[in-house]
């Protein structure tokens, strides 16, 4: 399969999708509850948070970087929006503040990485701890509740029978797809991941592109945090723990190379769906949560091994 995939670009691109379809096929066979419209909507709603973060993570990983701070940003953005709302502030102001906090933290990540030349892994790991700590400070370690009823729309509402988070996710994927495929900014992202030095020498302002990539990643994490708080109708200070790893897993499962330059936004959607389908399917099959973690780990390892093989093929 690996040989064939290396030789055929179409198969290589379709690999993750085939994996997803195969997984669905097996689960539909094993559980009669899996392949129902309700459950499929349920899965897409469950993956929407990870998928939205995954879009930002795809951009970052395409440049050859990584962002470990997204999980903490989810918690901080959710807490700030919830805190402002329960304090009686308007919906627009509170939403803007939460998303804005995500953007600002992303901006700081980007500046530390480009100006101070700190490796993305370390810079965003520092931010992960800072944002988590500040969340605990802001919330005093307690969940925030008491938001107005209309706030629940973003995580729990429906438009024409489709969950709102799914619609938000679809719009963001569409925007991400167009940006990467059709704009100059998108081509610069691939170029930096392919060869940052060459990109810089050809006259492109690479630090500026990189900073924007981290701002986008932080903003999307902030948006996810708000949807999360809305879904639970409460902001949890421990929300988003481990989200960075789920997002990275989705990106890698979707065929984006961790060394940058290769990958697609559609692949990430497929990757997020693979994780979501796996979680949901194993739940429906009554597999113990301990085994579920083992299964998830094996799938991620298989995907990374595929990624490595592909790298050798000069992709």
């Amino acid at each position: 399969m690996l040989e064939t995939m290396r030789r055929s670009p179409l198969l290589r691109k379709m690999g993750p999708l085939l994996g997803l379809l195969l997984l669905c096929f097996i689960l539909a066979f094993l559980s009669d509850r899996f392949l129902t419209v309700n459950n499929l909507l349920n899965i897409t709603r469950q993956v929407s948070l990870n998928a939205i973060i995954g879009v930002g993570m795809t951009l970052v990983i395409l440049t050859g970087g990584i962002d470990l701070s997204v999980g903490s940003v989810v918690a901080l953005a959710g807490s700030i929006t919830a805190g402002l709302l329960s304090g009686g502030h308007g919906l627009a102001v509170s939403l803007a503040a939460g998303i804005g906090v995500g953007g600002v933290l992303g901006l700081i990540n980007g500046l530390i990485i480009t100006r101070q030349k700190v490796q993305p892994f370390i810079a965003t790991m520092g931010m992960m701890t800072i944002a988590r700590g500040y969340t605990l400070v802001y919330t005093d370690g307690r969940p925030i509740t008491g938001m107005p009823e209309q706030f629940r729309f973003f995580g729990g509402g429906y438009i024409a029978d489709i969950p709102v988070p799914v619609i938000i996710m679809a719009l963001i994927f569409l925007a991400g797809y167009i940006m990467l495929k059709k704009t100059r900014f998108g081509r610069y992202i691939y170029a930096i991941g392919g060869n940052e030095e060459a990109t810089r020498l050809s006259g492109i302002n690479t630090p500026k592109v990189l900073v924007w990539v981290y701002v986008l990643c932080g903003t999307l994490a902030g948006l996810s945090g708000i949807i999360m708080a809305s879904r639970l109708n409460s902001a949890q200070p421990t929300a988003g723990m481990g989200f960075e790893l789920d997002a990275i897993a989705a990106v890698v499962l979707g065929g984006t190379s961790l060394s940058g330059g290769v990958g697609t936004i559609g692949g990430t959607l497929v990757g997020a769906l693979i994780i979501g389908v796996l979680d949901n399917g194993l739940n429906l099959l009554n597999v113990s949560s301990f085994y579920q973690q083992v299964a998830k780990g094996i799938v991620i390892l298989l995907a990374v091994m595929l990624d490595r093989k592909r790298g050798k093929g000069g992709a």
Partner: protein, 310 residues
Amino acid sequence: MVLKSKKRVWAVLLVVVFSIGLLAGCGSSQPPAGEPAKKAVVGLAISTLNNPFFVDLRDGAKAAADASGMDLVVMDAQNDAGKQMANIEDLIQKKVSVIVVNPVDSKAIVPAIEAANKANIPVITVDRSAEGGKVVCAIASDNVAGGKMAGQYIVEKLGGKGKLVELEGLPGSSAANDRGKGFNEAVKSASGLSVVAKQPADFDRGKGMKVMENILQANPEINAVFAHNDEMALGALEAIKAANRTGMIVVGFDATADAQKAVKDGSLAATVAQQPKEMGKISIETAKKILAKESVPATIPVALELVVQK
């Protein structure tokens, strides 16, 4: 070459199918031959299985489900309120007959309970309650009885005579209210006992120590201390030790690992233990009653147990 790669495709496919089949096999128990109708399935959405208390709760529920011929599906939220919501959504998709939930967070669980209400699946809470949604029955430790148990123990030990201190939990919390209520009921029954100091220390060990230090300064004679949880009791013990005071009975609540050790070495006189296995068992029995259309009470208090030196 082509043949080889095709072989590999099949090898990978087989491994994937096999491992998923294997995992599925681990989870579902084979129905015994000759089983007539489909078994009722109860979903247990537990806050975490990374804590012996909740593992015991699950074991109690599992044993009760096996005994009454029901299937139990356990989902572990790993202390993540978001994950718990997804777990309950999956239980709804699975169309289980009853959902027993042990919430990660009493408020964050509300949307999930409302979703189950919408799907017409009865919900039972166990150990922790929910602050909204329609819950058929809430099962939790009987804190009033536990406080009474601690009070009676002190009455007995002191022979109905002496000066007492009560270290209260977080003001307004249900645990503090109920434990204090039970304790004071027991103490009032003995006319020779008087509570000379009663102050909140917020369930915190450090605060328990500080508050106890001040109480020791103000009261030259104290015979017994009841703290609403073990953390405060252990803090009070530190204060008593530092002040070189002796002859005081200290009783805690919760039977944490630290407290059980202190009971063993004799520094802590007693602590009140919850019975998680019993909680699990009662939740399954309640689910069975709901399925049989029998009426169940809105709350079921679960008895507690006094832990003393053996």
